[in-house]
Symmetry: C2
Subunit: 145 residues, 2 copies
DNA sequence: CTTAGTGCAAAGCTTTTGCAATCCC
DNA sequence: GGGATTGCAAAAGCTTTGCACTAAG
């Protein structure tokens, strides 16, 4: 649910020399209106009703470009497929090991970890991804029955 | 380079009802003697000289079981394949965005992040994975030329 | 118009599965 | 000996690619 205005999306694509297509905007809109962190297949299915001719390959290509221009980020939650998030601000994610849902964890205290990791390894750090795994509140309740 | 004694490895497998096979020990040994965080294919190639009849499928099956008994952990460094680490103590990893090498980051300060994430999301957290991305020291130097 | 992007089908990769032969215990 | 495990080949995902057609600028 991180939604840029259509003009901003358009501008970002053009800036980088990409054309603004219906398909790219449609994929961005799905991402911008959900908190579910869908994968390519799910996005594709979501678009079927409104864009019945759109292909899965185009969803993949659009996602690659959206990530490239900074309109989305790719998540690796130890699943067989990648998930995507329109919120490109770095923030951790958490996946329920029972039902598989993936939620956001909003920004935690300023990055002492990154500084410490840089000091320890000598890397020039460009990014990080933090993932947590556990039981979501719903699954904790259901487990008791 | 986290190496348990053969007896400990054997014991851990038996405890969980798994048979101790040459193949499983061989896969563990590769992992235990490297800091490179290899994927299944790399492990398979490494074993070709000593175990020419071993199949890639068996490497995959062995890795699954090693992870299950706590002799290895699976890493998701935003690549197309999983990597594996015989050090099962939770610790962050860092991948060079230029050469692709993956290094360990040894344990950082006690987990304020996990506590904070639990508080914020209501999840009962079971595990975490922290990944950093940047340029390794070698690549930083080469880039200057 | 010109060039990039779409849609389709086929190919590529990593990982999993089915099954007869083999090896642990 | 009995049941788990191996090795092989085939299958099953997810993702990418090649190419003729279409649409954006």
């Amino acid at each position: 649910m991180t939604m840029l205005k259509p003009k901003e999306v358009t501008a970002l694509l053009r800036e980088r020399g990409f054309k603004v297509t219906t398909q790219r905007l449609a994929v961005y809109n799905v991402l911008a209106h959900t908190t579910a962190h869908p994968n390519a297949e799910t996005i594709y299915q979501e678009l079927q009703s409104h864009y019945p001719t759109m292909s899965l390959a185009t969803v993949y290509k659009s996602l690659t470009i959206l990530c490239e221009v900074g309109l989305a980020q790719e998540l690796n939650v130890s699943e067989d497929s990648f998930r995507y998030d329109a919120n490109t601000q770095p923030h951790p994610h958490i996946r329920c090991t029972r039902c598989g849902r993936v939620d956001d964890v909003m920004q935690l205290p300023p990055d002492a970890l990154e500084t410490q990791a840089a000091r320890e390894t000598g890397y020039a750090i460009q990014a990080h991804q933090y993932y947590f795994f556990g039981l979501c509140p719903d699954c904790q309740h259901q487990k008791k029955h």
